[in-house]
Subunit: 308 residues, 2 copies
């Protein structure tokens, strides 16, 4: 089993969907990634920052999932990063109602000493300079660095973004962002262009339409599980990334064939995330439930064709 | 091998895409369905109508693919149905520039005597009353009736549409049409509702996002092959339906497991259709090319996961 370092936000979210709304609840990219990866009982650490207003029970939740939280800086006099958003009826688009950076504005990530030799690094969505500083701190070259990012950094820090993209092995990005980054409409062409920017593996997330994994001329496609009801999409992409990174850390097999499985695990875990508000479903998810859903994914996608 | 009856338009299309435009070329739902199904060397017949302006070479093309054309009525003094459309840059939406019904306005389909006992009937997109009249002519109950339709009939002939929907085993419909027909956003819920209207099997086509097959609580998902370039999407849905119907007619196995394969064959053949304008690619498609692409679909979707 490989050590896994996760960097990203640990935050408060307030969410509105057609099904209801929440007060400030636990959120953040690193939180979702960590909860998802914790399904694999890893030696994992979250590197992040919160304020004095962040409840101990949330930190305990992560600790109880066997996640090392010594890399989460607590700024007693500061406030925790806060995001608020409202989803439209189709659940595929949302408006941001509020973004309060708070302590995140001065975030200088510090990788705990005993994770500076981690084999796998998962860079959750953050300013590309912050993501780079995590890589700078690694004492041994990680076997795999996975980057998640978003259009906001393309709009505001494109050069910095290109600098971190150069340094990673895998990028996860959604379809519109892949198009924005490459100015190509075809996702196949976009994925090829992104591979020339650095990452040998490109995962394009298409929300309810699943995810594509590209590597050289190889493509693999994992659908999203068709659901009767998507309750709250918040964190689905991070949960996908956490499942992807966690499975690779657990199995220590970085072949394309095994990355297919990692994508399936990511989709499987993301299908739970959207069933309840926030992190609720991921906090209470049994191994048995995950296995049952993996079998559903098999029935959904596997076939035995005879050539006629 | 089961006999297959295909009813639908045989037509002229004029198409504009970002890649160019065509004059009047061969088109029509039954044409695409027939060309696709002909990959399986079936005993298949097209029931349709054309005008005296329809070139013999197009009829010969179908005959040479071993398709019985005795059910294609030729109205010497009439003109052939004509459709013209322009695709937008994203290739997912289009404007209809012209629709000239011509002979299609008086179409009374006549099923050839020796196909009135066909086991499989594929009802291509047409007025629901015309589709019904084909079923009325069958002397033995077909083992499988497949219906394709579109939003136009929901807007203009909803009662007639419901009457034919009641009588079929499989419906193929796109995602927006499924939503319109059921007033449900979730495709899972929509597919369940449609099953209560008659068809035991529901295929929801999502264009570049693939297709879903529903039956009771079973779901199967076939992606579209990710392509560098979609040249002309015209006929892709019909080509899908033709592959689906043709495979089932060939294999004579109407189980859900075999329908999975039929969906994969449909997606495979549709992936060729969009590579060139109109029917060009489907006119010249070798068994070997199809087999190679089926292997690509396997690599795209199949995985060997071990539960961790």
């Amino acid at each position: 089993m490989s050590k896994l370092v996760i960097v990203g936000t640990v935050a408060f979210d307030a969410i509105e969907t057609p099904f209801g709304k929440t007060d400030k609840i636990l959120g953040g990219a690193a939180t979702y990634i960590g909860l998802s990866a914790s399904q694999f009982n890893l030696d994992a650490s979250i590197v992040s920052i919160v304020g004095g207003d962040f409840p101990q029970k949330h930190l305990d939740l992560l600790s109880n999932k066997n996640i090392d939280i010594s890399g989460i800086e607590i700024v007693k006099e500061g406030k925790t990063f806060f995001w608020s958003g409202r989803y439209h009826n189709d659940m595929n688009s949302r408006d941001t109602l509020a973004t309060e950076l708070n302590t995140l504005g001065d975030f200088n990530p510090v990788v705990p000493k005993n994770y500076k030799n981690a084999e796998i690094v998962m860079l959750g969505n953050l300013h590309p300079i912050v993501q780079s500083s995590v890589l700078d701190q690694m004492e041994t070259k990680p076997k795999l660095v996975i980057l998640d990012t978003m259009n906001f950094w393309m709009d505001t820090a494109l050069n910095d973004l290109h600098n971190i993209i150069k340094r990673v092995d895998v990028i996860t990005i959604n379809d519109e962002e892949a198009r924005q980054l490459t100015k190509e409409y075809s996702l196949v062409v976009a994925a090829k262009k992104i591979q020339t920017m650095g990452p040998k593996y490109v995962v394009i997330k298409k929300g309810e339409h699943g995810a594509l994994l590209f590597h050289n001329d190889n493509v693999f496609y994992a659908p999203a599980l068709p659901l009767e009801e998507v309750f709250d999409p918040t964190g689905a992409g991070d949960t996908f990334a956490g499942g992807f990174a966690g499975y690779l850390a657990k199995t220590e097999d970085l072949s394309f064939e095994n990355m297919k499985n990692a994508v399936i695990y990511g989709s499987t875990l993301a299908s739970f995330c959207v069933e309840k508000f926030g992190t609720e479903r991921m906090e209470n998810l049994s191994r048995n439930e995950v296995h049952k859903r993996l079998l559903q994914f098999k029935q959904l996608t596997q076939f035995e064709i005879e050539l006629t």
